[in-house]
Assembly symmetry: none
Homo-oligomer: 232 residues x 2
DNA sequence: TTTACGATTTAACTCTATTTAACTGAGTTT
DNA sequence: AAACTCAGTTAAATAGAGTTAAATCGTAAA
């Protein structure tokens, strides 16, 4: 989804400023309105993706506003923010069409996560965007097939393990550039603890051994920083 | 909607009794379980319409349980109930697949209205209509008929068992993507205990044997993670 | 109810990717 | 040059995965 538009209705200017800033710095486009009457106009004109409503408002209270919005649109998520803590107020909030109800004071982070939840913005899996990554790499006289995990060199074709494939692929994506050790570790191993660095060394040895017959290809170490894969 | 089934996971007996009674007197059908490990079994067998999970549980905590449930089913609403009040716990709850998070102590009425809200937002469906799933899959030179449980390969047509069919079908639904072992186990076997993984290995061997004459089709292992079915 | 059979699980064993360990060497700092 | 840190090599240990066969389970026919 592109940038989500938020309609935020709140009459207390100080809080409104803090929350608006918080939302904006998380990438939302925020329209702030202080009055319930005007808010409905905004809703109609701006078609926000989500609304955040205070309950106590001048002219038209939050419950009424929510009901009015629901007459026009039944699906846009509505979150109530209120200092009213009684259960019956919460129930009134849901009955008037709200989808969530946060008691003041609340944390911005909690508001954000609840908004995301209502907007279904959780990255389901990496599967969502089957990113069009390259499957086969040619370099020097070699070829790495990341699908079948095969490395063809001048001296033959060898099956390589998943980690070997990942490591070589990562270097190929940065060939002739410096690639930091830590970057590799974090990406492939998930953390850069001592034993994982030792483990990576072992894999480097294996890759170097596989590529030893290709004089034009070298994995160079840059001490204290990382590696550079030299190849055409 | 007919009577909604609730799976309620809570290890504190006194609270569990109160909440269960409250839900029942509001017309819900409640299954109460005190243990996270067993809860997953219940989920698979009972197919509840909504789940209410405590966070602190013996055997398997609420977050982990939620993640496991999400591997099997992505739409059933999940509500966390917890004495943990920190924002970061709330965020963890949503990140692990929860749809709402209520801090203890909470009022039964608030729980009820939030349940109702979620049940309206995710109208019963996924479970009732096991969405028009594909019955026959074509891949490479093969064809899997899930109705008659027949696998046609280049070398003939073979009857396959229910588990073989399910396993292959699941891989086909994720072909050329990484599919986690645990996801398969939870979905097909219902739990990921040791012997089930061994059993799955046996089925993989059988599938690989059946598909061995199709060089373009391979079930590749990604150690520590899962499998990838390579095919067109 | 018993038997027979196929489906699935359990068991025992093998193989292999990855990690751990121990040691060696190379570049840096003092 | 001594001391130190980082990196490379090799081998052993571990844990994940694969294979095969035997045991068990469940169901339908006898």
């Amino acid at each position: 989804m592109s940038i989500a538009k938020v309609l935020y209705v709140e009459d207390e200017p100080f809080l409104a400023q803090i929350v608006s800033d918080g939302l904006r710095s998380s990438g939302y486009e925020v329209s702030h309105v202080a009055d319930g009457q005007i808010a409905l106009q905004y809703f109609i004109n701006e078609r926000p993706d989500i609304c955040i409503l205070d309950i106590m408002l001048p002219m038209k209270d939050g419950y009424t506003l929510a009901k009015d919005i629901r007459k026009i649109n039944s699906s846009t998520p509505l979150i109530f923010l209120s200092a009213k803590t009684l259960t019956e107020d919460v129930i009134k909030g849901f009955k008037s069409g709200g989808n969530d109800y946060l008691r003041k004071p609340f944390s911005i982070d909690e508001l954000l996560i609840r908004m995301e939840s209502l907007l279904n913005r959780f990255p389901k899996q990496a599967n969502d965007h089957p990113e069009q990554k390259q499957l086969v790499y040619e370099f020097g006289n070699c070829r790495l097939d990341t699908v079948h995990q095969l490395l063809k060199t001048i001296s033959g074709e060898y099956p390589v393990s998943f980690k070997e494939t990942s490591l070589l692929e990562m270097m190929l994506l940065h060939k002739n550039q410096v690639l930091e050790r830590q970057t590799i570790l974090l990406k492939i191993w998930g953390d850069d603890s001592y034993y994982n660095t030792r483990s990576m060394d072992v894999f480097l040895t294996r890759l170097r051994k596989l590529l030893k017959d290709e004089p034009a290809i070298q994995i160079m170490n840059i001490r204290g920083i990382g590696y550079k894969l030299i190849c055409s």
